[in-house]
Symmetry: D2
Subunit: 308 residues, 4 copies
Amino acid sequence: MMINFRTDLADERRDIYKKANNIENEIEGIETEEEQIDEKIKIIRVKVLKDEAGQAIGKPKGNYITMDIKKINIITEEEIEKAANVLSQEIKKLVENKIQSKEDVLVVGLGNSDVTPDALGPNVVKNLEITRHIINYLPQYIDENARPVSAIAPGVLGTTGIETLEIIKGVVENIKPKLLIVIDALASRSIERISSTIQIADTGISPGAGVGNNRKEITENSLGIPVIAIGIPTVVELATLVSDGIDIFIDKLQEKAESNDYLNKLQQNDKYEEVKEALNVGEYNMIVTPKEIDSLIDNMKEIVAKRN
Amino acid sequence: MMINFRTDLADERRDIYKKANNIENEIEGIETEEEQIDEKIKIIRVKVLKDEAGQAIGKPKGNYITMDIKKINIITEEEIEKAANVLSQEIKKLVENKIQSKEDVLVVGLGNSDVTPDALGPNVVKNLEITRHIINYLPQYIDENARPVSAIAPGVLGTTGIETLEIIKGVVENIKPKLLIVIDALASRSIERISSTIQIADTGISPGAGVGNNRKEITENSLGIPVIAIGIPTVVELATLVSDGIDIFIDKLQEKAESNDYLNKLQQNDKYEEVKEALNVGEYNMIVTPKEIDSLIDNMKEIVAKRN
Amino acid sequence: MMINFRTDLADERRDIYKKANNIENEIEGIETEEEQIDEKIKIIRVKVLKDEAGQAIGKPKGNYITMDIKKINIITEEEIEKAANVLSQEIKKLVENKIQSKEDVLVVGLGNSDVTPDALGPNVVKNLEITRHIINYLPQYIDENARPVSAIAPGVLGTTGIETLEIIKGVVENIKPKLLIVIDALASRSIERISSTIQIADTGISPGAGVGNNRKEITENSLGIPVIAIGIPTVVELATLVSDGIDIFIDKLQEKAESNDYLNKLQQNDKYEEVKEALNVGEYNMIVTPKEIDSLIDNMKEIVAKRN
Amino acid sequence: MMINFRTDLADERRDIYKKANNIENEIEGIETEEEQIDEKIKIIRVKVLKDEAGQAIGKPKGNYITMDIKKINIITEEEIEKAANVLSQEIKKLVENKIQSKEDVLVVGLGNSDVTPDALGPNVVKNLEITRHIINYLPQYIDENARPVSAIAPGVLGTTGIETLEIIKGVVENIKPKLLIVIDALASRSIERISSTIQIADTGISPGAGVGNNRKEITENSLGIPVIAIGIPTVVELATLVSDGIDIFIDKLQEKAESNDYLNKLQQNDKYEEVKEALNVGEYNMIVTPKEIDSLIDNMKEIVAKRN
């Protein structure tokens, strides 16, 4: 069965696949590990070890680390600092697996800086500490062990007319970094995770993932250097939300033994397309975002930018 | 039966009340009139003539004019100009019903300028043509028949610590305008109407309306001068969307004679609260907004500000 | 002799008056005190004790505290914290001189939020911790000794059509605070002081001060409650800069005994008006601001908003 | 004699060179032509025909077209439209000299979008009509004669850590446009020209030009395709303004026969460095900008972006 996951999070995909296939323990070829850092922060590490497991959840082999932050809407300065440190450690481990201590890193902030839920990547890039030009032109002002870090926000196809990959490729070929870190806004399945979860993956960004925006892959395969992707959910598809709501609803009917054959059948299919049609969503791309998105993104930007 | 409408639009409330009470024609004490201006623009005029009708739909006696603009996401400069003119004519008629040609108008842009879906009021106010100070200090630079227009954006309780009504009252008492125009972001029931509908009401803004933000009324009653409210939907409650989705879904089951007693009963109740609970929406106020809200609001701001 | 000071800083005015009148020590009726807090921060306290002294420098009797921060363009997070604390102590002393510990304070951020060098007041107000509504509506969530603080950004005459004083008056009459704190962008005489100096005055804002923007006074006299003004220079008049440049230049000629009668005479007069004419500054109001104003204001906003 | 022009405008450089060398007519190898389009708009065409003339004014051989717009601070919508058309015609002529009608153009908006006087390039790019991706992916939605236009805003060295030229080179090599249009903020010598003059040059951007920001050249030489530069002055060096003020001042002394040998000598030298030192400009880069820069840039952005 081909599942349309409608989420970019490996963790959510694993859960959906398991539910759809009535798998109780772990999917063969996937290992998962949870670590509760403190009351607010939890780390989930999903390792996709086999290609078949990757095909099952539509994610290539590799490491997917999810950091959940509870109640990010009422986070304090100290908790932001803490979350930034935890994130920093996780990224550091992945980076040190791939390159040497003084090798060049290029950070790419994907997304459109004029669309609030899409602006996270460009905003993080603006707030990073950039060192490459200081090391090149003013080495006396910087610690001699500093890693050269550079950063760009290439914009989106709709405003540049250029595939993002083409821009990144051009820059990579010219400045020859040893590793790419890509920051992107994701779709998730649950509105609770909007701007309160961060996924780090050492696999880059793959085609076909995400919510149908048929972007080209940004991976070691297309660029020749390892790519670490940092993704934060900022949008949910409306039809996903309604579809989930109906699922919960049918569950309740069944609990009360009020269900019937038709409902049981429905439950087994993906009624997503029907819901989508029924909602008659008209002209827009029905992607929704919480009203508080401005301040949620502001908090998340700080966490990701503080130290990369 | 007490209905929770979860929309600020008189037009939507009338439809919900009619459906809930199986009323086929018009509600007693309400008159409605539709005018198709052109392919894109439609005007709906709802007149609430009797107090009982007003209680039924939870809106005081008065005029509620709704302007729907189709596909505002792909609107052209010319169509914006056209819509601005139509809106301007409708507002003018209401204003001229209330005050003389050279009497003072104060425009108030409600909302928080740092929260995208809430920033419409303050944004419109920034783009209005203000004349009061020119008439007072530099009368030689302005047409002698110009109406004195002033404008403020008072902010919101959460960032000022002051009830909006208190600020407006203070300004009204000091500069003594003859009429108030209040611009506000509304909640609607349908995501299709987000930032593509404008409601003008000559009744001001009443308590209890809207999505539970228990604001104080901004009306002739509280301020002593007539109040015209211009409202644009920019948010929808998530539970509303899901509840509507389930309604459509049950309808489909019934068409196929697959329904049962329990479903039939459910259909008659407002399952909104149940849905809300089932969704487990966590810490945020689950008010959603389309991803494109930045550009939708930009278009609407131009339409409302062009000529008031 | 009537001096046109072209600065809002009491400290600069005192220096200009002393130089113009060849006063070596202190002006009769003025007391000054300097305190070097640390390497970066210096406090200058100017007390105007007599009305004649006040007339001499064009500032009413009262306390004028100037905090200079060196090299604010390269300030660290820790230094911002430190400066915020020092400022906070100075403001606290003035406030506690005027009102009791739990009496209401209203903060007013003057200026136009859409003009970078004028946006400091509105920006500070957005970042303040507001307590009045929490004390009123949710007292259980706040320390019972908290002072009620509210805040507004009333805009400017050019965009509201309303004298700022009229708006403040209206709000003061309605919410009845016991003290007003007004935050404003000032003109200074020296471009070095742009956004690196803060002046606190317990005299409010007086008419005739500043660079000819004939605003009405915002003082205890006009409002009935004490007014503390916090002002930060963000602009310099171009003609002031050139006039100062010519002064320095003539000084150099005189050192080399290359001066002549005409130059000596010039030196004694205020050649400001001549310079202004000679520069032929055309249509704009020739007020200049450093290119880095965006980031300078950002740093200053943090210092003033951190704790008020 | 080596002149430090401190302006990027060919027109101003020609005047400075002529004055410094007491040339009454035209510099050998330069041709100039003026056209008064209407009351507000004037075009000045400076052709540098010989290498020696180019060396004299520090600008390579080529065409420099300056469009002056009077009183841009009070410009109307119609005048913006008119200016945009005139500009568009001039650019079109240069473009059609270089490439065929359907050949690719890449527009590059230089500058830092977070520094108001530097943000013109990125702002224009955001408002351009981009066609390349529509022609590639949705050709049915666009006129078949449309020229493919793409655009990027590469950021600045200080925030990316990458030389702008390296980014542009990478993109050019990957998408292979036939012509580059570069939009940049310039320094001018006169504050009157801030954001009211546009210079178009078919020579690209050369090293050493501008105010000492030692950028690398962005020219046909470095990129292999023709480069048209559109530049708008948004900053003036403070020392330039003061130096000019002193010049005017000495002229006045000489008129009154109050000058002396020393002054006469000074007049012949460039006293810029002395002035710079005397002003003791401290830590910042003393580049100033008018207070109204936000709205000036807004008007200019519209003119340049309307049609390119």
